[in-house]
């Protein structure tokens, strides 16, 4: 996948030994610290759980699993809440991220970008290989 070089993204996961995972900034409504969190038994593997964020309930997705990588398996402390029609979804933010570098121009691997097409495919049950839909 080719990603426009001028696309501003919010980086949601990053480790030294793997590629970054990001979401286009235009799909992010805001970044928030979460309140209560519970896992959802039987949910697709890319769903980390549901969380309370300022009195609203959002379904938290693991960006790594969404892009075919291994999940982190821990409740997040902060999330990036998506814009409509996905305002009930949020992407877990990696705690190791340098918060000053979260939003920036994208120069990474397009396969690790969670865009509208990937979200639609996930919600339609067309998860990448290896992911429990």
């Amino acid at each position: 996948m080719t990603v426009p070089s001028d696309e501003t993204v919010v980086v949601i996961a990053s480790r030294e030994d793997e590629l970054e995972v990001a979401v286009p900034a235009r799909l992010v409504a805001r970044v928030e610290t979460i309140g209560a969190f519970v896992a959802v038994p039987g949910a697709p593997s890319y769903v980390t759980g549901i969380a309370e964020v300022r009195g609203r309930i959002v379904t938290v997705l693991d960006g790594r699993v969404c892009t075919g990588r291994c999940g982190k398996g821990e409740p997040p402390r902060a999330v990036a809440i998506l814009t409509p029609p996905w305002e009930h979804l949020a992407l877990a933010l990696d705690e190791r991220l340098d918060r000053t570098r979260v939003a920036r121009r994208w120069n990474g691997d397009g396969d690790a970008l969670i865009d509208e097409n990937r979200l639609r495919a996930l919600l339609a049950g067309n998860a990448p290989a290896g992911i429990r839909p």
Partner: protein, 488 residues
């Protein structure tokens, strides 16, 4: 009249006038624009008729005529007669403004008297209030957890009082957001009587399920489509006593407005026992006016054929007076249902009446439930099908909830909630039942909603979260996987 309903009418009528203006004066004049404007004006007329605002009914009807004439002129000559349209909307706005003014003893408007609108809090403002209270509860819980148990009795008392106030506030706000059907639909009784009198028919009107509770904003947005469907039922379903007598029916037509709710949806149905509609006749009319080609039309079943009545080329084509819906009423009801993420379905046949059903998803519903602990998590089990709570016996065939949800045995599952379905009963075992009460259940949306057993989630008073489960789904799923003979 309920001042809330008057305020709701004022807001909604103004919104529809603005929609009509946007459709015909801003978006450009093409057939779709005219139909959008007609729907908006028809909604104003329908709501005004339901609430007895006769002047607004007449002015809105006159505006509909102007739009209809303009539509025909535009189709015939390509002319864009915007001035009469603007004048018609201005007259309607003036009538709405007069309605907002208080009337004196003679029923005349007194413009000098200041108008004080009733306090009406919008659903979105209430949503923000709920969110802030819930956020407060979460942070309160975190502060308590960080501080640990206070050594000072005064601090202990202050904390208990603060928690009590917070819990009370949260429940009050939830109660404000939810209302019963009965509170909204009472004015419709008078409207049905007025429509029936104007048509010279007798109508026996029944409301079923009026104790159903759901999100107030949802009811408010359904008021207009329900009015449209009821008016159709009276106007098109109501027949003179002699006609009904000849068909072997009672003199009075029977119109039923019914409400029902499952954990995730509100269902509103308007039924009449009038002459009904022949789906084949609708198909023929749709093909004749070019709304659909004959080959595609042949493939439609009866329900899909009846929905053709809402097509822009069919809606608004029949002769009209102030009572007849011109098919625009059904189109407005469909648009409203779909804007709420729901559906409108129609069923009818010649001689057997007409049924219109709106099903809309619930964002928030108040449901009786049990707050339970299973494994390390809390859940709310809907109480509808739970007939008993008892201790778990040693030779019990109950299903441990944690086994179903997490696939892990739960040795602490010692309390059983007995679920009954179609005469069969089965226990669901949990570690602990904390309380039974009404819970405000919020929708989760995809991908969690609609999967497995979850119908939503509950924000608890202590700042925690619990998934809401339909125990019937658990039971159905489990019984489908095991051999018969294991049931209680």
């Amino acid at each position: 009249m309920n001042p809330e309903l008057r305020a709701l009418f004022d807001d909604e009528a103004q919104r529809h006038v603005e929609m009509a203006r946007a459709a015909i004066l801003v978006s450009g004049l093409h057939p779709e624009s005219f139909v959008h404007a007609l729907r908006a004006l028809h909604s104003v007329k329908g709501m005004a008729a339901a609430l007895g605002f006769a002047e607004i009914v007449d002015v809105a009807h006159a505006a509909e005529d102007v739009v209809r004439d303009a539509k025909e002129l535009a189709a015939a000559s390509g002319a864009t007669p915007t001035a009469p349209l603007a004048e018609a909307l201005a007259r309607l706005e003036a009538a709405l403004a007069r309605r907002r003014m208080p009337a004196d003893a003679d029923g005349e408007s007194t413009p000098s008297a200041p108008y004080v609108p009733p306090a009406r809090v919008g659903a979105e403002a209430l949503d923000r209030l709920v969110e802030n209270v819930q956020s407060l509860a979460v942070w309160f819980e975190r502060i308590e957890h960080s501080m640990g148990p206070p050594a000072d009795g005064a601090v202990l008392l202050a904390r208990a009082e603060a928690r009590r106030a917070l819990t009370g506030l949260a429940r009050e706000i939830d109660a404000t957001r939810l209302s019963r059907v009965a509170e909204l639909v009472q004015p419709l009784r008078a409207a049905v009587e007025a429509w029936a009198a104007a048509r010279g028919v007798r109508v026996n009107f029944e409301i079923e399920g009026s104790r159903v509770r759901a999100d107030r904003s949802l009811f408010e947005r359904l008021f207009d489509p329900i009015s449209q469907l009821l008016r159709n039922a009276v106007v098109h379903g109501g027949e003179p006593p002699e006609t009904r007598g000849a068909r072997g029916l009672r003199e009075a037509s029977h119109v039923v407005l019914s409400f029902a709710r499952d954990p995730a949806h509100l269902r509103v149905e308007v039924t009449d026992d009038g002459p009904g509609l022949d789906p084949a006749a609708v198909r023929r009319r749709a093909v004749a006016c070019g709304a659909i080609d004959a080959a595609s039309c042949e493939r439609l079943d009866d329900a899909a054929s009846l929905l053709l009545l809402t097509h822009p080329m069919l809606a608004g084509t029949t002769t009209a007076d102030t009572m007849r819906g011109r098919g625009v009423g059904l189109a407005a009801a469909r648009t409203a249902a779909e804007s709420l993420g729901g559906t409108l379905t129609l069923r009818s046949a010649r001689g057997v009446g007409f049924r219109a059903t709106i099903v809309v998803p619930l964002r928030l519903a108040l449901s009786d439930g049990f707050l339970v602990t299973s494994g390390s998590q809390r859940y709310v089990l809907l109480a509808d099908a739970i007939v008993a709570v008892r201790p778990r016996a040693t030779d019990d065939t109950s299903i441990a909830l944690n086994e179903v949800l997490a696939g892990e045995p739960d040795p602490l599952a010692r309390t059983v909630l007995v679920v009954e379905r179609d005469g069969e009963s089965r226990g669901i075992a949990v570690s602990h039942v904390a309380e039974r009460r009404e819970f405000a259940i919020r929708r989760l949306g995809p991908p969690v909603e609609g999967r497995g057993w979850f119908v939503g989630a509950v924000l608890l008073g202590d700042g925690g979260l619990a998934l809401a489960i339909d125990p019937l789904r658990v039971l159905r799923d489990r019984l489908a996987r095991e051999p018969a003979g294991l049931r209680e």
